[in-house]
Subunit: 319 residues, 2 copies
């Protein structure tokens, strides 16, 4: 009986692979650095060779493997099986990854957006178990999401459903990396937290370095460290991000009315309490009362493995 | 073979009823005024007697009627079959309408939120035909919506999915009728259009009355008339509403990525072109490009019958 699958999460800096079962038994996993641009070809070669190594290490027959799931950033058209355009993966654009991997391994391959795969992972293995309708949101450098409706991944008509980070929450507001203004990502992501502190430091001629001995540069993680040390500016940065993030969640509750919202991503690690408390308060303030009353907002359970286990879930769910 | 159904749309001022088929053949329809408060009981009595009259007028046997669908404002729990709390229907709150109507008629009754029913109506008879994923939005006194996913009505976990009017689009913005601040409804509804002109008239000591001979009071419809006559303030009111409405649609596109958005409601009748053009421009400005590229934004096809035909569709769809 075929009961194993492989999950591959392709990110801008690393590729994580896992071989496991539908009941969350991980046989083996590994990571390789992502190579882009002119090195993309050699990276694919390395990926394929590592896939074979993964199966050998697990010590199981390839016949027992049902297939390969791949999570990757961008608007993934599962039917076409091509890598979509992404600023973090130059050289990968339009690569026929499904064809390449299925030819090299002889296994069926399913491609999906990484946040969508993560939602499916939480649905099969994590905080979304037993929930028919829920939303997974990741808050790290950017903000992404995946939507599960009636137990199935909902990808939308153009495979871009769940583009939560680019929901407009402040008309003509802060410039976002996507080129638009006022997106949720420009207010509540790790990048936004870093930018907020940097701007305030320049404007008010102040600094948070005294809270960060030995650090040479900072991002949301360092701001989180300073916040935990009691730095007021850093606390304000996390509170502001939590406030705007709560608006984004409230809008999702009013539109989709899910039974659960599962939140993952690096920002939660850094200054979890300040961010979380402000976020819940703001969600309650902005949501339709009935939608807030009927939802549970919880943290991701898969954490570091949400990417590769999510990709693996693509094989077992939604076939 | 049972092929007929009855649709009842219960609004704050009138109740519309229709008897028809699943292929949009209307045999007969009628309207009665909605009575509330102490008169609710007599209104229900009148409703039941009119239902019997409707069947007699149509000249068909009751045996051929599959059931009754009822659309009503608020968060309708279809399982419980009770009328939800609504400010426009005092006295109706918690009324066991499904039980009352099925006992009186001997027919199965299905209750749903009126905007959700309208979405189902457009799906069966109107602009949503052949669309698997689409959103219906009505813009009149308030803003409501219904979501069709995979050809089926999506009501959410607490029956409040599609509460589009209370999406937050301006943090700490204008006060909405719901008590929150910054809701879409406070910026883009007919009420918002009237309020905008009223406030500007007071603040700038100006008037739009010269464009409205014979009118004694005004709402969005009169502002629309003045806009068509070239009144700058009225045009600005419709443009502003269209701009904010476009933000709301863009957010829906980014989250749900539907293949179609169907828009109905009185605001479109009044100053259709100004509102529509600004709305489309703003949607394009604020939406994720791929989500905008893959959607068609169209007008409701059922118009005046969207309420009762929507209720009728409840019988034929989602069983």
């Amino acid at each position: 009986m075929k009961k194993y699958a492989i999950g591959i999460d392709i990110g801008g800096t690393k590729i994580s692979m896992v071989l496991g079962t539908s009941w969350e038994e991980i046989l083996t996993c590994l990571e390789i650095p992502t190579q882009t641009g002119a090195n993309t070809k050699s990276c694919i070669k390395e990926l394929v060779s590592n896939l074979c190594g993964l199966v050998q290490t697990a010590g199981i027959s390839k016949k027992k493997i049902l297939g390969i799931g791949v999570g990757i950033p961008g608007a993934v058209n599962a039917q076409k099986g091509l890598v979509p355009r992404s600023p973090n993966l130059p050289g990968w654009n339009n690569l026929p990854l499904v064809k390449v991997l299925s030819k090299a391994t002889g296994l069926p391959v399913r491609l999906a957006n990484d946040a969508n795969a993560a939602a499916l992972g939480e649905s099969l293995f994590g905080a979304g178990k037993n929930s028919r309708n829920f939303i997974y949101i990741t808050v790290s450098t950017g903000i992404g999401g995946g939507i599960i409706i009636d137990g199935k991944l909902y990808e939308g008509s153009g495979f871009v459903a769940g583009e939560i980070g680019h929901m407009s929450i402040v008309p003509e507001g802060r410039r976002c990396n996507c080129g638009q203004k006022g997106c949720l990502e420009a207010y509540a992501s790790g990048t936004a937290i870093g930018n907020f502190v940097r701007e305030r430091m320049t404007r008010n001629n102040t600094t948070i370095w005294k809270f960060l001995p030995g650090n040479k540069r900072f991002n949301a993680r360092q701001v989180g460290m300073a916040a935990r040390e009691g730095d007021k500016l850093s606390i304000e940065a996390y509170r502001q991000a939590g406030y705007y993030f709560g608006i984004g969640i409230a809008n999702l509750l009013n539109i989709i009315n899910p039974e659960k919202v599962v939140i993952g991503g690096g920002v939660l690690k850094s200054a979890h309490k300040i961010f979380w408390e402000t976020m819940i308060k703001s969600t309650k303030q902005h949501a339709w009362p009935e939608a807030f009353r009927t939802v549970r907002i919880v943290r991701s359970q898969l954490k570091g493995h949400v990417g590769d286990l999510g990709a693996l879930a693509l094989v077992f769910k939604n076939q």
